[in-house]
Homo-oligomer: 570 residues x 2
C-alpha cells in the first residue's frame, strides 16, 4: 500500500462504457454523477481485422474482405471490466449500469440462441459465417444492384441515405452472403449488427437498436408518414427470391430506443466481468453517434465532428429533410425526439498519416528530432506561419474516396499549385485545408436544406492535438469550434447511455449536462482569414464539381484506365 | 614516368571546345579526326551565380536577380586549357582550333575595347554593369511591354518566338537597364552576349554570332523576305526614346555564321592559355545548340533533346513555319542552310530532384542504401515494373512553369489520382511520364505545322543514366530514341565547330560524320504500350488545356491568390 493510497469512496456510483473499435475494445469506468473517468482499459482483438486468411486456414480470402471474430469482443469484456474494478478499487455493486458502442455496420449470422455461425465447426471455414466488419468492401456489386432496384422502384431508403446505399451496409453484406454462400443464409436464424449481438450476449435478449437499423438497414420513414417501415417483401423478393421475408425471418421487426434498458446482466456474464448479475445494460449504440452527447450536444444547430482516420459528422434536426449525399437521416437515431443526420469524410487522419509516412522527406524527421517534436508537430508549427493562399497549393481530399456529397469511393486525391519551391509544411497545410473545405461542403449541404448549423463540436485525437487543424476548420467554415474534454468520448457516451438506461438520469439531455464537458479553449473564426478562404473554397468547389461530378472527368477516366491496366498484359 | 606512359603522337591534330555553363566552364580536348576525347577539365566560377550581393558589396540585390562576373569566364580559359595540354601531353601547335559555347541569353555592357563595365571601379557596384545571366528574371515588366508593343505593331519577332518574347532575352534585359540605370546604358558602348564577348576576348574582334542574335535579339526574317532585319528604330523608339538607335549604336548589325572563323588567338590570350598565337577561333555558339551536331544530327526530321535540369529541344527544318509556343526559329541558327527551331521544358531533372529531395520518405533512402543504389536508381527499378495507367496517377509537369506551347512561367504542378495506397515509385513514374507528355505536346506542335519528326535524339546526364525515362519517352512519343555517346556533348559540339572554323572539315555535316557518335542501344517504342499511353495523353491534354489555356482556371486563380497573400497582412 503506497503513500498515495486513498480508500475508495463507497458512496459513489459508477457506470461503464465499452467502446468496440476496429482494432480493440476500450472500457471506461465513469463516476455517474460527474462523468469523471475513474479508470480505463484497452484490449486488442487477437485476430484483429481478418483480411487475408481465416484463423487457422491457409486459404486466401477474396480481395476487399474485412472480417472479425466475435470471440474477440467477448474477450474485451472479460479482460477490461475486471481491470477497471481492480484499478479503481470499485465494488461490483457500485456499478449501476453498462453501455456499449460499436463500429457499424459490422454484422454477423447467428443461430436462434445467439451463437455466431463461425463458432460452429461446420461453418468456421466459410468467411460469410464471420463478422463482416464495417470496412468489408466486397459487396459493391450487391450495393449497385440495391441502388439500381431502389431507384427504379422509388424506394424511400434511397432518399434517406442521401441518394445511395453503401456497400458497407447491412443488406449489401447480407445479399453478398445470399449470392456467394446461400447455405450460410439458410443456416443463420438471425443476421444482426455486432453492436446488437454484444448486448444480446450481455443480457441474454435480442434487443436491436433503432439507430443501427435506421442508419444501415433500411428502417425508414416514408414521405409524409409518422411511422417507420422496412422495404416491402416485394422489394426484397425482386432483389433476390430468397430474401422475400428476410425482415420477419432473419431480423425481426422490433427495435429499441437509445438509452433504453435492454435487460440485466446475465449470471454467466456477471461471472465473466465481475459485475453484479442483473446490472442494467443499455441498448447498443453506433460508436460515432454516442460521441454527440459526450460532446455536450443534445440539441439542433451543432455539428459534431468525430475526427480520426476518417471524420464522422453528426447533426440533430427538428424536421426531416432529404440532404444530398449524406449517409443517412434517422428519427430518434442519435438523440430521442430529434432527427439524427450523419455524414462523413473518408480520409482525414489517414490522409495526414499517408503524407507523413510516404511523402515527407528525411530532413523533416531530422528537424523534428532536433526540436524535440513529432513530425506532425514540426509540420504544424511551420504550417501555422503561412497565410491562406500563400503556398499557392490546393488539394482535393479524396485519397480515400468521397463518402458524403459525392458518395464515390473511387474518387482520388489531387494536388495543384506545386513549384520547385514547394516545401512539405505547405503540402501538409494544403491537405488540412482540403479536409476543411470538404467539411464546409457537408455543412452547406445541410444549410441549403434549411438545417441550421451554428457551431461545430469536435472530438477525437486530431481535435485535441492539432490546434492548427481546429483553427483552419473554424476559419474555413466561419463557425466557432468547441472540443470535447474527454479523450475517450465514445466510451464516455456509451457510459452516459448506461446511466440513462439505469434510470440515474431521466434522459440523455440530463446525463449530458452532468457528465459531458467541453474544453475552455474555443476556436473562433477570424473573419478576415475566412474571406481569403472563401476564394480558395470557390476554387475547391470548381475542382470538386469538375473532377467529382462530371462522369467523364480525367479523375474518373484515370480510375477506369487503372482498372484496365491491372488486368491487361503489356 | 610510369609503366603506362605512351609518347604523345605528334602527327595527331586536336581541337578544343569550351562549354560555359551556369556554374562552371568545361574544356574538352578532342582528336579532330575521330572526335575522341583526349582530356577534359572543369573550372567552377568563383562568384558562381550572383543572386543576393555583388562581390564585396553588402547591399542586397533585388528579387529575381541572377548575375555573373566575366572575370570567371577568363579564369576558365587560363586554368582549363593549360590543364588539357598537360594532361594529354599535347603541344600547342597540335591544337588547330578553339570553339566555345555559352549559356544564352547571358549579356553584358562593355566599353568599345570590350572591357566589361563591371571591371570599372566607377560601375562595379551597379548590378546592371555585370553579366545578366540567362536565368536573371527581373525583366518581366520589360518583357510584358515588349510583347504588348510587338503585338500592337504586328512585329515579326512575335511570330518568330512562338507568340511571346521572353523576360530572359536580350532586349528585355537591356530595357531593364535603360529603365533602372540609364547611366549604364550611356556608359556602355556595346551590349553583347557573353558568348560573343568571350570570342572577342579570344581573338580581339567583335564577331557576333547570328544564332544568339536570331534566337534572343530579334534578328528576324519578315514574312516573305529572304533577308533578315532587326525591328525598326520606330519600334525601339516606341519602346523607349533612348533605344531608337540601339541596334546601330550598341549592337552593330553584323552577325556571323556558325562554324566560321572569328579570328586568330591574340598574343595575350595565347600566353594565358598556352596555345599558339593565331590559333583559329570559331564564332560563338549557344550551349544547347552545339549538342545537335554532337548528337550526329545535321539534317531535318530528328528532334534533339538536351535533357538536364530542364530540357531543350532542337530541330532542323527546310522551311520556315510559325509554330505555336516555341522559343524561336532562326535561319542558319543551328546548322547553316536550315531553319533551326528551339523549344523547351522548364522543369525536368529539376522536377525529379525536387521530388527526391522534398517528397521521398526516409524508407526509400534506407532501401536504396541497403540495395547499394541511389534513391533515383531504386525508384527507377520499382517504377519500371509498373504498367502505364496502373498507378492511376497523372501529373502536369509544370513545377517550374511551362516554357513551350503555353509559355507561362506561372503555371504550376498538378498531381491527380493519389490514394492511400499510392507509393513513391508510382509518383516518380508519373512525373517522368508527365515530362514525356510535355515533350509529345512539343512534337505535335511541330508536326501539326508539317515539320516532320521521325526520330528523337537525346543527350545529357538523364538521357545517359535513366533508361526507364528514355523508354517511356519512346513509348509516349511512338518514336525511336538514340542517345549521344559523349558525356560532354556541348563541349564536343564546340570543338566540332572549331574543326570547321579551322578548315579541317568543309562544314559541320562532315565534322559530325567523323567526330560525333551515338550509342549502340536504341530505345524503340512498344506500340502496345504506346496505345495505353495514348489514353493517358488524352487526359493529360484535357488537364493541359483546362489548367493551362483557360485564363480563369483554378491554377491561374491560385497563382493570383498566392501573389495577393504574399502582400496581404492577415
Amino acid at each position: 500500500m503506497n503513500a498515495s493510497y486513498r480508500p475508495p469512496r463507497r458512496n459513489r456510483r459508477y457506470v461503464i462504457g465499452v467502446d468496440f473499435g476496429t482494432l480493440s475494445g476500450r472500457a471506461l469506468l465513469v463516476d455517474v454523477a460527474t462523468g469523471k473517468s475513474a479508470a480505463s482499459a484497452v484490449q486488442m482483438y487477437a485476430d484483429g481485422v481478418i483480411e487475408r486468411h481465416l484463423p487457422g486456414d491457409p486459404k486466401r480470402l477474396p480481395a476487399d474482405t474485412a472480417l472479425q471474430s466475435p470471440a474477440d469482443y467477448l474477450t474485451v469484456l472479460s479482460v477490461t471490466i475486471p481491470k477497471l474494478l481492480r484499478a479503481a478499487k470499485v465494488l461490483p455493486e457500485q456499478v449501476i449500469g453498462l453501455g456499449t458502442d460499436f463500429t457499424s455496420c459490422s454484422m454477423l449470422p447467428v443461430k436462434a440462441d445467439g451463437t455466431p455461425l463461425c463458432f460452429d465447426r461446420k461453418w468456421k471455414k466459410n468467411p460469410h459465417a464471420w463478422v463482416k466488419l464495417w470496412k468489408h468492401h466486397a459487396a459493391q456489386p450487391e450495393a449497385n444492384r440495391i441502388n439500381e432496384l431502389g431507384r427504379e422502384r422509388g424506394e424511400t431508403f434511397i432518399k434517406t441515405y442521401g441518394g445511395k446505399y453503401s456497400s458497407e451496409w447491412f443488406f449489401s453484406k447480407l445479399l453478398e452472403t445470399v449470392n456467394h454462400s446461400p447455405e450460410i443464409y439458410s443456416a443463420a436464424d438471425r443476421f444482426i449488427e455486432a453492436g446488437d449481438w454484444i448486448v444480446w450476449q450481455l443480457c441474454g435478449a435480442e434487443k436491436r437498436s433503432l439507430s443501427a437499423a435506421g442508419f444501415k438497414a433500411m428502417r425508414v420513414y416514408p414521405d409524409g408518414q409518422r411511422s417507420w417501415t422496412y422495404p416491402s417483401p416485394d422489394f426484397f423478393k425482386a432483389l433476390h427470391p430468397r430474401l422475400e421475408n428476410v425482415v420477419s425471418e432473419k431480423l425481426g421487426g422490433q427495435t429499441h430506443a437509445l438509452g433504453s434498458r435492454a435487460g440485466g446482466l446475465t449470471r454467466a456474464m456477471a461471472k465473466r466481468t465481475g459485475l453484479g448479475e442483473g446490472t442494467p445494460v443499455a441498448v447498443g449504440n453506433i460508436d460515432a453517434h454516442v460521441a454527440v452527447p459526450a460532446c455536450t450536444v443534445t440539441t439542433p444547430g451543432k455539428l459534431v465532428m468525430i475526427i480520426g482516420t476518417s471524420t464522422c459528422h453528426l447533426l440533430l434536426g427538428e424536421t426531416r429533410q432529404d440532404v444530398e449525399g449524406i449517409c443517412g437521416a434517422v428519427q430518434d437515431g442519435v438523440v430521442p425526439g430529434l432527427w439524427g443526420y450523419e455524414a462523413g469524410q473518408a480520409g482525414v487522419g489517414d490522409l495526414f498519416a499517408w503524407y507523413v509516412n510516404h511523402g515527407v522527406p528525411a530532413y523533416v524527421a531530422k528537424g523534428a528530432r532536433k526540436a524535440g517534436l513529432t513530425v506532425y508537430e514540426l509540420l504544424e508549427s511551420q504550417a501555422a506561419l503561412l497565410k491562406p493562399g500563400e503556398s499557392g497549393l490546393l488539394a482535393l481530399d479524396w485519397w480515400n474516396g468521397n463518402r458524403s456529397i459525392l458518395i464515390d469511393a473511387h474518387l482520388t486525391g489531387l494536388l495543384v499549385g506545386a513549384t520547385l519551391a514547394t516545401r512539405p509544411h505547405e503540402i501538409y497545410r494544403a491537405l488540412i485545408e482540403a479536409t476543411a473545405f470538404g467539411t464546409r461542403k457537408i455543412i452547406e449541404a445541410f444549410t441549403e436544406k434549411g438545417i441550421a448549423i451554428e457551431e461545430l463540436y469536435a472530438c477525437g485525437g486530431l481535435a485535441q492535438k492539432n490546434s492548427l487543424l481546429m483553427q483552419i476548420y473554424a476559419d474555413v467554415t466561419g463557425r466557432p469550434i468547441k472540443v470535447a474534454e474527454s479523450e475517450e468520448t465514445c466510451a464516455l457516451g456509451a457510459a452516459m447511455h448506461a446511466a440513462v438506461a439505469a434510470g440515474f438520469y431521466p434522459d440523455i439531455h440530463a446525463a449530458a449536462k452532468k457528465m459531458a464537458r467541453i474544453r475552455k479553449k474555443v476556436y473562433r473564426p477570424n473573419l478576415r482569414v475566412k474571406a481569403l478562404y472563401d476564394c480558395l473554397y470557390g476554387e475547391y468547389t470548381r475542382l470538386h464539381d469538375w473532377f467529382g461530378r462530371d462522369p467523364a472527368s480525367p479523375m474518373k477516366v484515370l480510375r477506369r484506365l487503372k482498372a484496365a491496366a491491372s488486368s491487361a498484359g503489356v
